[in-house]
């Protein structure tokens, strides 16, 4: 969302914007900066989040570009070791805490949760705005750290390196992450209350869109796990500033306790970074097959199962720390169990295609890419859950590749798919479809080229967080860097054409995809209170029925002027 380009060669025909009768939408409800920065409208807050996370995605992405540039050759010829260590740390911190965790919940969730359940806003609109400000404060601190020298502990902040030995801005980073945590706690809290208490009459739990189920499971994790991270980071800050000794082995502390506390948050946080994507997936697949999602309740409950299991597997990050083998066995078997609800989701999405009426739109391409990449990401997780194998690939590029397949290959794909899918709803205009599909294919190819070679070097034993590496890993790293440049182009395209479409995109009616769901029954973009009249739900989610539907991009009738 960086800038609007003014080159518009393929200007759509003016016929699509007939005489622009002024229409009231949430976007026209006030124009000054105050109307945005002091808004309590969940949709405007979603837009604020969209702008800010896109900004952090660019920052985190540029760190990644520098890293891949450095790793293109085995020698350290682009940046020195200190800089490289700061780059991968800042890349991790920015991407995880400032992009992935808030991406789908705070943007799509904020925009859609109230609309999808027929409410006028989230339960606590002001708290919603406060959460964005907290995010911004945390973000500014992080930016300041990036400018003033950075931090070099890795995003995992392992003690005693972070607490005693690092010569970088650990305390300040801890404060930044600590503050940002409250932003996601408040978002989660808001969603839980909203989903429990504010559903429209007739909208029972099992009529909810699966996106809502996924947001609900995510919110549970945010509310239960983030406070533990906050405390852990709080103790780390105290240790760093006052030398209180809790994690310092030279004065009686236990550095491994830090890892337990850290992963108690951060493993569930991994599911914060994938469950919302799974929710988006269900919506996309249903909309572009024009079918009810196969096995609705199994997909819904598998989200909860993943959320719950997520709290019991943190120890699989610590198989090599000298943890008791019995504890490791328990963590190992529980980790393996996560594969089951994940597989259930993949199979159900695939089965939904059967006898559907499938349209290969941009969001659908992202959805299909998601299924493939998530299958790889999920199955390589099984490798890591097996102790004998993990002992070899732990802390190697295999792990790096694995979690990028889950977090980037899956979550970012879902985010992009969701943004394209709901873009006409959010802004009332369609993005250029051809360019969209092209970008989706570029992203898919670039992604695999970047991260597939990392599985191979990982198995060969290349450890992660290495600034220089032996010659024999050179070819695969070069491939990976080449892939990254393609991936970068793929990500830049939507960042250019989406803002472009805000002004020049084709105008759309309430339901350009002919999809089901409350959000498609209101105008695009919606009015501030979402719906003009009371909402009553009388049917299940994805009630597509058996009638044939018209081809895509139907220009819906313009709504009548809204009466308030």
């Amino acid at each position: 969302m960086s800038s609007t380009t003014h080159s518009a060669p393929g200007q759509p025909r003016e016929a699509h914007a007939p005489a622009n009768e002024p229409r009231e939408t949430y976007l026209t409800d006030g124009y000054g900066w105050k109307s945005w920065l002091l808004t309590v409208d969940h949709k405007r807050i979603a837009v604020l989040y969209l702008i800010s996370i896109s900004f952090f995605f660019l920052i985190g992405g540029s760190f990644a570009v520098l890293m891949r540039l450095e790793l293109a050759t085995p020698k350290g010829d682009v940046v020195d070791a200190e800089t490289y260590n700061r780059l991968f740390t800042m890349h991790g911190i920015v991407m995880i805490f400032f992009f992935l965790v808030p991406s789908i919940p705070a943007v799509l969730g904020n925009f859609l949760v109230p609309i999808m359940i027929g409410a006028r806003d989230l339960a606590f609109p002001k708290i919603n705005l406060i959460s964005w400000y907290i995010y911004v404060v945390g973000g500014l601190i992080t930016l300041w750290i990036a400018i003033s020298g950075g931090v070099d502990t890795g995003w995992t902040f392992y003690t005693p390196y972070s607490s005693t030995y690092s010569n970088s801005q650990v305390a300040m980073t801890a404060i930044g992450v600590f503050i940002t945590g409250f932003s996601s706690i408040l978002t989660g809290l808001n969603f839980i209350v909203t989903i429990h208490k504010m559903r429209a009459p007739g909208l029972t739990w099992f009529r909810l869109p699966l996106f809502i189920w996924a947001q609900y499971a995510t919110s549970l994790i945010m509310v239960l796990a983030t406070p533990v991270l906050a405390t852990t980071i709080f103790l780390l800050g105290l240790e760093r500033i006052f030398r209180i000794g809790i994690f310092d082995p030279t004065i009686g502390g236990d550095p491994v306790l830090f890892q337990h506390l850290f992963w108690f948050y951060s493993h569930p946080a991994v599911y914060i970074m994938i469950l919302p994507g799974m929710g988006v997936m269900s919506e996309l697949i249903a909309a572009f097959t024009k079918k009810r999602v196969f096995g609705y309740s199994f997909v819904a409950f598998s989200s909860l199962a993943i959320a719950i299991l997520g709290f019991m597997v943190w120890g699989h990050h610590m198989f090599t720390t000298g943890q008791s083998p019995y504890a490791s066995m328990v963590f190992s078997v529980l980790t393996m169990l996560v594969a089951v609800p994940s597989a259930v989701k993949v199979f159900n999405w695939t089965a939904t295609l059967y006898k559907g009426s499938i349209e290969m739109t941009t969001p659908m391409l992202y959805a299909i890419a998601f299924i493939g990449l998530f299958t790889i990401g999920g199955l390589t997780g099984v490798f890591l859950g097996i102790m004998a194998v993990d002992r070899h690939v732990h802390d190697t590029y295999f792990v790096v590749a694995h979690f990028h397949y889950v977090m980037v290959g899956s979550m970012v794909m879902a985010f992009l798919g969701g943004i394209h899918f709901w873009w006409p709803k959010m802004f009332g205009r369609m993005y250029p479809e051809g360019l969209g599909r092209f970008a989706a294919i570029i992203v898919f190819v670039g992604f695999n080229l970047t991260f597939m070679p990392q599985f191979i070097v990982g198995f060969q034993g290349m450890p992660r967080r290495y600034h220089v590496y032996p010659e024999e890993f050179g070819v695969f790293n070069l491939l990976s860097s080449a892939g990254a440049s393609i991936l970068g182009v793929g990500y830049l395209l939507p960042m250019l054409y989406l803002p472009w479409s805000l002004k020049w995109g084709k105008k759309v009616g309430p339901n350009p995809w002919q999809a089901k769901g409350l959000e498609w029954t209101t105008q695009s973009p919606p009015i501030t209170h979402n719906f003009t009249g009371p909402v009553v739900v009388t049917e299940e989610a994805y009630a597509y029925g058996e009638e044939p539907h018209k081809p895509k991009f139907v220009e819906g009738p313009e709504e009548k002027p809204v009466v308030r």
């Binding site: 809290l189 406070p227 405390t231 306790l257």
Partner: protein, 237 residues
Amino acid sequence: MSAEIAHAHEHAHALPPGVRPPVSHHFEDLEQQEESEKLGMWAFLITEVMFFGALFTAYTVYRSLYPEAFMLASSHLDWKLGGFNTLVLIVSSLTMAMSIRAAQTNKRNLMLVNIVLTALLGATFLVVKYFEYKSKYDLHLMPGPTFDVAAFEPWGPQARIFFSIYFAMTGLHAFHMVVGLVLMGWVFVKAKQGHFTPQRYIGIEISGLYWHFVDLVWIFLFPMLYLLGAHVHGPAH
């Protein structure tokens, strides 16, 4: 949370007494709004449980690693002051509950008195805590470079961990008490303006939930930190 309740009340000022205040624009009715507010506070308290939970975990781990050191270090805490503070908080929970009861039964003055009493008891707790902290500081029991490791031979470093956890937990608890006092100030103003009626007293009710939670945390902290070594005769204070 408080901002939200304030929001709900924005429209209430101009209303004649006895008329139910209107509902915030995005809620269907008052019942939905109140239920949401209550659930919101409960969810918030669950995050608080997890927040303190990590510290309780750290305490448990180190106490099982260094039982003697923890007992020895605990004997340097003044269980009498801690016990006094426990009593203060229990009474404050009572006055808190009485103020809610007064709101329900429309006894405005009784409600105001009880709110003031609750706040005063909370302040008393913090004053006592201040003197405890100060004495720990003077005795070099504050973790950090000045910590008196020699006082706990042979358990100096382990005792320092005890005091780190002590300060982290009681410090966080004290911070919550300060937030509670601010909340009491807000409740007092709202009560004075006549916002709490037998029909609508959700603001004071969920503030009470918070207050009871903070008290409850202390009920756990007191035996864990103070009573653990009370029978050991450490150096006199």
